[in-house]
Amino acid sequence: MKNIILAIFCAILLVSCGKKHEYNTVDEMVNDAMKTVKMITAEELDALMNGGGEEVYTLIDVRQEIEHYYGFIPGSVNIARGSLEFNIGDETYWEHVGLYMPLKEEKIILYCKKGQRGILAAESLSKLGYTNVYALEGGWKKWELTYPDVFEKDLSKLGGSSSAPASSGGC
């Protein structure tokens, strides 16, 4: 009898563990990823950037190219989230952009517009064996508001600026 109960218990346990976890919203997915992803604040990143090069790190903007060139954190390389896993360990890619390919144990910091894509991208790199991956808390927008003077942009890469939103009223 004891063996039968034990077998049923193990079977239930296996079924429970084997069930694929599904999220109702992307917020749930991000919150789940945040349990394992390490975060870095804008202030900590600024300190790292001004640390005299003592610590090797790679700063990656995982937004789309169309978002990146309108404004980005100095020193960051743009690898859109959709191709991050394929380019991160591709030496040819890094030669093309003129940077050293980050080693798996080196510090990698990812950012997007407001933080969520960066967190999911960081979780993905962890699964690829990168052990020192961080996501920038609040992303580019948080950086932009914390250090509004510290940014670069390259509108020439966008083939001309887009049209402006209409303005009405006021001063």
Partner: protein, 525 residues
């Protein structure tokens, strides 16, 4: 040995009864009741309207809008007296500010953190004054025909004040495709209670564009849904501004704390929702220290972005051909304008949280700078203040021109109709623009200028979310990264802790349980 009956009685008294007490306490103590249903007759739906097209006086041929005003006042007599006492007309009001006493404040004498100040830029800014032609200091505030009745009461959506014309609509000489001469007879025959178009034409576009100033008031509210604003949603109550902002005798209820100061004439949620809206003790108790808005406005700028940063020190650059520059961010909001400087816009913004007791201090035009960033306004209140509650706030930060010798913010002439008249927006020259701005405002200037960090606080009231999207307990009652992590003058359960207190509490609970169990065993056996 005890009998079986005694054992059962002991079991019931020692185990079952305490368990029942705990169960009932938890069950009823934590019960979440349904909120009370609100049954309010909206003012906009219950106000009688008349057919103005039947009135003889409105059948005369109108060419000048001041004649329309005279016709309005011939029936609506004494309304001009009411209006000319209002802040929409005077652009200032008397207020009692702690530490300052009674002062008159308003757009007449304050700096703002956007286009810096209205006085001296009348052609542009006074487009949103409820009068005709406040072009300079000669404007007659005592002439009732200077009142623009139509801008608030037009129901045709064809009446507009023209840009740059100090509150005048277009004339034959100035009309454009965007701003034709209004058909005054058509408009005058179709007037009524103000709707969101009348209010929104100024209040949604303050600061030079949609949602630049408020963050929670913008053109998306002209036609919106409950998810954006649960009150104004066309799939919900479909309320308009004046349903809450009633205007008995043209004295409009509610205020903006960037131009108002004291805790009077405010609107409160409880006026419709009562002080126990949740029908739930714990949630309703929160309202002692938490404004309704704190939980019910979890994000603002839900549709279009709002400005969060405006740096005037970057203004004035030209491209290699000498032309002004316009650049945009990835979401097609301005990121740089030569005439205004560097911007940061964002949408779906999480508010910052501050104590606020309904009273505000202001940095007035002639004040001396004593701290950086300069607080254009600041909210009074802290935990110990019985009138203060935690509020969600849009904080707009920036950098403005100031006089480093006299240590004052500078008034700048931004607007003129033509180049060469000294206005910054035309000539991109700071010195002449400051000289003329200070001269108009009759203020001394040392001749030097630099830029200084500034910030302004906007308590949020609009874009109230549906109940499913309000804050939950763990948004605040969480050990780290909670919404209230920057408010540290009180003990917040779930966030704050004391190891000695926590361990003592756990020990008391464990020893109590052990005591109950041991006692039960002794009583039963």
């Amino acid at each position: 040995m005890k009998s079986t009956l005694e054992k059962i009685a002991s079991f019931i008294v020692v185990i079952i009864l305490p368990a029942l007490v705990i169960y009932l306490t938890v069950h009823f103590g934590l019960k979440r009741n349904e909120p009370e249903e609100i049954k309010i007759a909206l003012k906009s739906e219950t106000t009688a309207q008349v057919d103005h097209s039947e009135f003889e006086i409105l059948k005369q041929k109108f060419v000048n809008p001041k004649d329309v005003t005279a016709a309005c006042l011939s029936c609506h007599n004494k309304r001009d007296d009411e209006l000319m006492k209002s802040t929409h007309w005077l652009w200032e009001r008397e207020a009692e500010i702690p530490g300052r006493g009674k002062v008159k404040i308003g757009k007449m004498n304050i700096h703002n953190n956007f286009c810096t100040g209205a006085q001296g830029n009348n052609g542009s800014c006074m487009r949103c004054h409820i009068g005709y032609g406040w072009e300079d200091k000669s404007f007659d505030f005592n002439d009732p025909t200077n009142i623009d009745c139509l801008v608030c009461h037009d129901k045709t959506d064809t009446y507009f004040k023209q840009k740059g014309m100090a509150g005048w609509p277009a004339t034959e000489a100035t009309a454009t495709k965007e701003f034709p001469v209004p058909d005054y007879n058509y408009v005058a025959a179709n007037v009524g209670y103000p709707d969101r178009d009348n209010c929104g034409v100024c209040h949604f576009y303050g600061g030079g564009g949609n949602n630049v100033k408020h963050g929670d008031l913008e053109e998306a509210l002209f036609h919106t849904n409950r998810k954006v604003d649960v009150h104004m949603g066309e799939d919900g109550p479909n309320m308009v501004c004046v349903d809450c902002h009633e205007a008995p005798n043209h004295n409009i209820k509610g205020r903006s704390y960037t131009v108002g100061a004291d805790n009077t004439n405010r609107l409160h949620c409880y006026e419709c929702h009562t002080e126990t809206p949740h029908n739930d003790y714990i949630l309703d108790y929160h309202n002692n220290k938490i404004a309704c808005q704190t939980c019910h406005i979890p994000v603002y700028a839900k549709v279009n972005a709002t400005t969060l940063y405006w740096d005037w020190s970057a203004a004035g650059k030209r491209d290699p051909n000498g032309n002004p520059i316009k650049e945009y961010d990835a979401d097609h909001n301005y990121s740089y304008l030569s005439i205004k400087g560097h911007f940061v816009f964002d949408n779906m913004v999480q508010p910052e949280y501050y104590w606020f007791n309904g009273t505000v201090n202001h940095f007035l035009r002639d004040d001396t700078i004593k701290q950086t960033p300069v607080q254009i306004n600041s909210l009074f209140g802290d935990y110990a203040d019985p009138n203060a509650k935690i509020w969600p706030v849009k904080v707009h930060r920036g950098r403005q021109a100031y006089d480093p010798v006299y240590n004052q913010l500078l008034s700048v002439k931004l607007f003129a109709h033509n180049k060469g008249e000294g206005a910054f927006w035309e000539d991109l020259e700071w010195e002449e623009a400051i000289r003329q701005g200070m001269e108009y405002n009759e203020r001394p200037w040392s001749g030097e200028y630099d830029f200084i960090d500034t910030e302004v606080y906007w308590p949020l009231n609009h874009m109230v979310s549906v109940k499913e999207e309000t804050l939950s307990c763990k948004d605040c009652h969480i050990r780290e990264k909670g919404r209230l992590e920057n408010l540290n003058d009180f003990y917040l359960p779930g966030r704050d802790y004391n190891k000695l207190l926590d361990y003592s509490g756990f020990a008391i609970i464990i020893f109590s349980l052990l005591g109950v169990i041991v006692h039960a065993i002794l009583r039963i056996f």
